[in-house]
Symmetry: D2
Subunit: 294 residues, 4 copies
């Protein structure tokens, strides 16, 4: 490792994600390889899931070489490391911002929050597309000058809705989808196409209160803390890998309306944090759980 | 109201708890009464459960009168307020410390914590009795010089165990019971006898993960936050009115053992806070929920 | 008190704030008065500052009377209660939304956040005016269709800037001012004119790190928790009454840039909560401290 | 790396701490070395202080070799790694529990808490000694059967007190000292002798409210959050490297006594966490800041 300060040479930064069966000498081999191509490791975190015997690693490296070529690195990585260790791996350059589609229905608070953070330059991603099953939030999209597509979606026209969604996602070259209080089921086909690439915000502290009306259930139970959970969407309702959770204190003096209002604060910030973690390639999924290198 | 500083007159302090059907002029009537007997209100909090139409109030008052008589006040209160408003009420003098029995099994961390706080003078209560279905913690009780009674309790000898428990509770004139990780079912008879007077600590963020091994379930689900819940014991397992909850963040890097260790921190402090709130008469129960005037 | 459900009679709701020297029978007198004019108390909270001997109270009442007249109530209140008890008081009807001016400079994250929440209907106030000493954020104001006024403000043209600010505040009939990371000093004249009506967000956990560059100071000190503080503006820099604070955990692994980014999350939510509390008339100021009835 | 499950071979576990100037290939060299001696890395975390250009690493490794010899490993490590990279390093076997001295005065809540956790088996350390400048807590030490030494300490007899302390620390072979609300200055000589090995708990959220009576200052300032800070003791009062901090919410309704009581909860848990982190060799100090690998 070597610190590269404000020198004149332009530095290229890449992020590497790895998981594979746990074996001897993985870290040594990967760090040797980085050293061999003159890279400086500026971040390294690793995790071993002892129950599943799986090894996870995330690295950020800087390269100053002028002849630097990401494709050559990828090829070398595959040959020298991924094949012998039977690794699953991803490599991203800093310039590659993922493209995110926002799915919304009628609630606007998460939409305003994400678009505000996006406009303020806090999210390393692009939002080329907003999809909704209602027309209500078209004006919000317009304010932020983002294309808005109305895609009706009900049980009766599910196949047609799904096709329209898929066409749009393809057309806009979308990498991942964020459900910002989108109130419709995501079809299994779409889940398969975007495996671990669809982020939902559920308005409870999962696994407590899955499904509809969680604030009403929380109020009825008399809990002293409410929560929100952001997770990847899987076939099981509210059962996908959890990315981020947060909580707020409530008391007997709070009405259901207070729960809902406090919950909106939570939903916003939990979703924003999950989106940021995903866009920064800090999450990995295995066995319906996430490894979050934050 | 009137502040009473460091004057020489000895002040008598009482706490009043009230609940009744919500009606006009309750607060005016109660505060008029306190004013009429020369009391100073030093704390007043009230709550209306709009769904159930129930009114709750907690007051702390000071009296300087030398002819002060708590029994006369109680009689007057019954005649002038409780009867016309059909109130449920309790009045305590500051001197009346509730007597608490600790039920334990083999886990010692909550026991050490409560006895430490008790010895440090932080809990306004007396602990005349520790009951256990194992002998393991007798030495801890001995360290703190508190009577320890071994009461075996299994399915086969339930009736006998219950009888022994009841005899002890009666003998030591116990007001309320704290289950400090006591790993046996409380019998319906005991629950009835100590309705809303038995406090349990459950090692999860209820209603998530009720029952056995909640940390294992939380680990398997991949949650990012674990919790602990203190509640009054009812006939439904882990379904009683919640008094206090708290949480701690966990990540993929934590093992089940880490969850359990972090959980022990939570269990301790959540149980201690619940016990303190109860001993200070700051909790009221209605409709399987608590009103906590803190 | 009496619950008024979904009946047909339109209910009028008012909020009453009181503070005065602590005396006997204040609560009884006020609640008697409310009962006498057929009001239902739906919220009552009170506080006695024992050191200063000051009594504070906040009430929300509902009236169903068709002949209801807020001016008569105010007159009666003055005659029957405020004069004899020498009270400071305020009464608001639910319809009176306060008018808020936003002061900004170049940071846009708090501005986006407040305008997003405002547009999502979460803040009970009106925003007729944004004032800035830079042109940078005009486009954000335009997106949300709120008048934006550029008022240059430097040491050299302080008097002129202050005059322009005051003219605008008067023209738009502004009730209170929010400094959403406005990076200029507020003049003593403006502070006097809007005493306890100017809310600032400071990006540290006051009183730690007042003044400029608090995240840099926090980083240098190696703190494990950073914070943000919303307070009323007084003549002393960052010394005004604190309305709301919140914190976030940091570690050695976070850079100054991480501190700043995490801080932006905090600043946003702390400021939003303070603005909401103020707009709901839940704050009272006394002796450079706030009473917050939340 | 390789998982070693419940096999029969006894595993030896060591912890390695390293810091040195940041250079290329440190991680590769260290992990290569571990691989070369058949060690399995079960934990690795590293940090680069970019401002100071310092590299920090913490590893936990397991060895199954029957001919395993810690002294040989230490020698090899020095020759092959520490010398070429000019490293500061420490290696501990799992069996080496550090010996801790508790310094106390009259407050007993932190003492009870630590001794309770210690007795419950939660702290990987030994407590052979309690030192106090008062006799008050001798009975607590006796309950837990730990030697208690009364060492008077005032300005007049500073040299004598210091000598007695040093003699005791030497006699009991003490590795680190915990000031559990010890209310006397630690002498520079002792600080030098136990550099970064003396842990204090300060009852405020440093750097706010250093010095005496922080709860009173916090109350006067009207903060909405109070805190506690555990730090290593240096020559500057309350200015040493921070290990752990935590906070609790307060409101206008809390008196100074409430602040103090809530603060006791904080002090206890913050100190306990700091002690645990230190005993597990998870802390490193550099430039008056801590790196905490937790």
């Amino acid at each position: 490792m070597q610190k590269c300060g404000n020198n004149k040479i332009e530095m290229r930064k890449i992020t590497i994600l790895i998981h594979c069966e746990d074996q001897k000498a993985i870290i040594a081999s990967v760090t040797n390889y980085i050293a061999s191509i003159e890279g400086n490791i500026i971040y390294l975190d690793q995790h071993v899931d002892a129950d599943e015997n799986v090894f996870f690693m995330r690295l950020e490296c800087e390269f100053s070489s002028q002849n630097w070529d990401i494709e050559i690195i990828k090829n070398d990585f595959q040959t020298n490391l991924a094949t012998p260790f039977n690794m699953y791996w991803e490599i991203y350059t800093q310039e590659q911002k993922p493209k995110m589609a926002l799915f919304v229905s009628k609630y606007d608070h998460c939409l305003y929050d994400i678009l505000g953070r996006y406009s303020a330059g806090e999210l390393p991603l692009e939002i080329p597309l907003i999809v909704s099953n209602h027309e209500d939030l078209r004006s919000v999209a317009k304010r932020f000058e983002i294309p808005f597509h109305y895609v009706p979606f009900t049980k009766e026209i599910k196949a047609q809705g799904e096709q329209q969604q898929m066409d749009l996602l393809k057309k806009y070259d979308i990498d991942f989808i964020v459900l910002a209080r989108y109130m419709q089921i995501i079809t299994p086909n779409l889940i398969t196409l975007y495996r671990n690439q669809i982020i939902n915000i559920h308005h409870s502290f999962l696994p407590a209160f899955p499904g509809a009306k969680p604030y009403h259930s929380a109020f009825k139970r008399g809990v002293k803390i409410i929560g929100a959970t952001s997770h990847y969407v899987t076939e099981g309702l509210d059962e996908g890998p959890i990315i981020e959770q947060d909580i707020a204190r409530v008391s007997h003096s709070h009405s259901i309306e207070d729960f809902i209002m406090k919950g909106r604060y939570l939903e916003r910030s939990v979703l924003a944090r999950a989106v940021k973690l995903h866009a920064e390639r800090k999450t990995m999924v295995y066995n319906n759980k996430t490894v979050v290198f934050s």
